[in-house]
């Protein structure tokens, strides 16, 4: 009997107290994050202030050299280049993916999950294999060149592979679903009533799109941008394989510190820098343009 009463009051608290409900829903994530994300990262922060020993092991000698090394123009250039690649990939993915998400959102309901599935299906093969397939297509004697030469459009094979263009093609290919899925969920929610109202008020389709559809799909665009821009900046596999490993992005620098140079403290410092930049970007972006609005509803 007593237990029953206890349970009742706990439920009562949850029912009436909005904040308690929110906390309750958030708690599994918080606990999980504390253990498997925050704690390990604290270890990395500590690591960034330590030093590298002769054999690449970690020496417990507090110092700031890892961070001062980062202020070199070499790393600034690399960081800027990585930002450029991330930005380029994001913009192209957005441009390529938006019409597609739009099409799927307006397709017959029973077709939608199939169409989405078809986008994701290739991603259930292995990422490395897909890149190798692209290499086969884009190389000098590859399919694209053979086809273009056969049709007579070009006479000399195009030098696409191992250039930044190839890297962009590969990156967009890998990140497209991350853009299309959030865009789709956003677009799919737009009610007909809103579009009909616009039409009733005399707006032509393109205006309805610009004034109604586009703004309402902004949350999807934000989610998509975050899901693409940030990993794209830290990517190293695609530039390695399709760019001929001739360019270094910040991701390569970090990877090299952990695997080749075995200078973990420096790698940790570089990671911290990248993390701070991307977190600042995310916080600023979502506050300004995104989820903050919910508060006013």
């Amino acid at each position: 009997m007593e237990k029953h009463r206890h349970k009742f009051s706990l439920l009562k608290v949850l029912r009436e107290n909005q904040a308690a409900q929110g906390s309750f829903l958030m708690s599994p994530t918080n606990i999980y994050s504390m253990i498997f994300i925050v704690l390990p990262l604290i270890l990395v922060v500590v690591l960034s202030f330590l030093a590298r020993g002769t054999y690449g092991e970690v020496v417990f000698r507090f110092n700031l050299t890892n961070y001062t090394r980062l202020f070199d123009t070499l790393y600034a250039k690399i960081l800027a280049f990585s930002l450029g690649v991330g930005l380029g990939t994001t913009i192209v993915s957005l441009l390529v993916g938006y019409p597609m998400a739009y099409y799927i959102a307006r397709a017959p309901v029973h077709q939608r999950s199939l169409l989405l599935f078809l986008i994701l299906l290739p991603f259930w093969t292995n990422f490395i294999i897909r890149i190798y397939a692209w290499i086969m297509i884009l190389r000098e004697g590859g399919f694209l060149n053979s086809f273009l030469q056969w049709t007579g459009l070009i006479h000399q094979p195009l030098n696409i592979l191992y250039t930044p263009t190839a890297v962009l093609i590969g990156m967009v290919y890998e990140f497209l679903p991350f853009m299309v899925l959030p865009l789709y969920t956003s677009l799919e929610k737009i009610k007909d009533a809103q579009l009909e109202a616009a039409a009733d008020l005399g707006a032509p389709p393109w205006k309805a799109f610009l004034r109604v559809t586009l703004p309402l799909s902004v949350p999807g665009m934000i989610a998509g941008t975050i899901l693409v821009f940030i990993p794209a900046m830290g990517m190293f596999v695609v530039p390695d394989l399709m760019g001929g490993a001739k360019t270094i992005l910040i991701g390569n620098v970090i990877r090299n510190q952990f695997l080749t140079a075995r200078d973990w403290p420096f790698g940790a410092a570089a990671s911290m820098l990248l993390m701070l930049l991307t977190m600042a970007f995310t916080i600023y972006y979502t506050r300004k343009a995104g989820f903050g609005e919910e508060l006013l509803v």
Partner: protein, 263 residues
């Protein structure tokens, strides 16, 4: 959005994008039958690579591991991530900003960093590396992705249907189960599909948290490919696609026990 016949250019465009997505896959499949081991030029047709594949116990073990990890991590991450999305999108509570920031951390850090941090963490607490550590790591990076997708779906969610449901006498739990959840279900499923894909394909984080005997398909394939891309890897991909296609067909065309009323 409802269905309306989309403009022709849009249909052609979408078709072209699908072609862009699938052309490499086509190449992949065709070249799984190539007799040339280095798989650079087409030499002839053979099934030997498929044969080799089915005898490759390492690959089969890796496939099994990959699926277990993907299923479990997707399930857990979807539940936790959806809860987090609901919390952040509809409530204010103490520690809101901090929770939101911490949630998105895995999206924002380089995978190498996350991988290393987890490796060191597991080593310090002396947790043997294996399938468990990989799964725990996958859940960690899947939660924010699920949350992001579901949040996009929740934005602008019309609470009035929930209020209507409660006015009609249903309590919070029933309202959630019968009204809220079905409405956000497309978002939840999108999130789950994304999480599953991420887990299936993950290389970097898995690499750092894998131990003896717990190798996954991406790890195995990456190392097979380091030496030379033999058509065996293509054969593996082709089989994989085939299985997924079959599952998809079953999912789409299996008899449904109940029709649902869509809101």
């Amino acid at each position: 959005m409802s269905e309306k016949k989309p403009a022709l250019w849009l249909r052609i465009y979408t078709f072209l994008v699908y072609a862009y997505i699938y052309f490499p896959i086509l190449i992949l499949v065709i070249f799984s039958f190539n007799t040339q081991k280095l798989n650079i030029h087409w030499e002839g047709f053979t099934l030997e690579w498929y044969n080799k594949l089915f005898q490759d116990s390492q690959v089969l073990l890796a496939a099994r591991n990959t699926l277990i990890i993907a299923f479990i991590s997707t399930l857990v991450a979807t539940i936790i991530g959806t809860m987090a999305a609901l919390a952040l999108q509809r409530y204010r509570f103490p520690g809101y900003n901090l929770s939101e920031t911490v949630l998105y951390v895995p999206v924002v850090i380089p995978e190498v960093v996350m991988g290393i941090s987890l490796l060191v963490f597991f080593a310090i607490i002396k947790f043997t590396l294996g399938i468990a550590t990989i799964t725990l790591s996958h859940i960690a990076f899947n939660i924010p992705f699920v949350a992001l997708v579901v949040r996009a779906r929740l934005h602008g969610f019309d609470k009035s249907i929930e209020e209507a449901s409660m006015d009609l006498g249903a309590n919070e739990l029933i309202t959630f189960w019968r009204v809220t959840l079905p409405t956000i279900m497309p978002g939840v499923l999108s999130g789950a599909m994304l999480a599953f894909t991420l887990s299936l394909d993950d290389y970097v984080i898995t690499y750092f948290t894998a131990g003896p005997g717990s190798t996954t398909l991406p790890l195995r394939i990456y190392s097979m490919v380091r030496f030379a891309v033999t058509p065996e890897v293509n054969a593996l991909s082709t089989i994989w696609i085939l299985i997924v296609f079959i599952l998809l067909f079953i999912g789409e065309y299996a008899p449904r026990s109940r029709t649902k009323i869509k809101t």
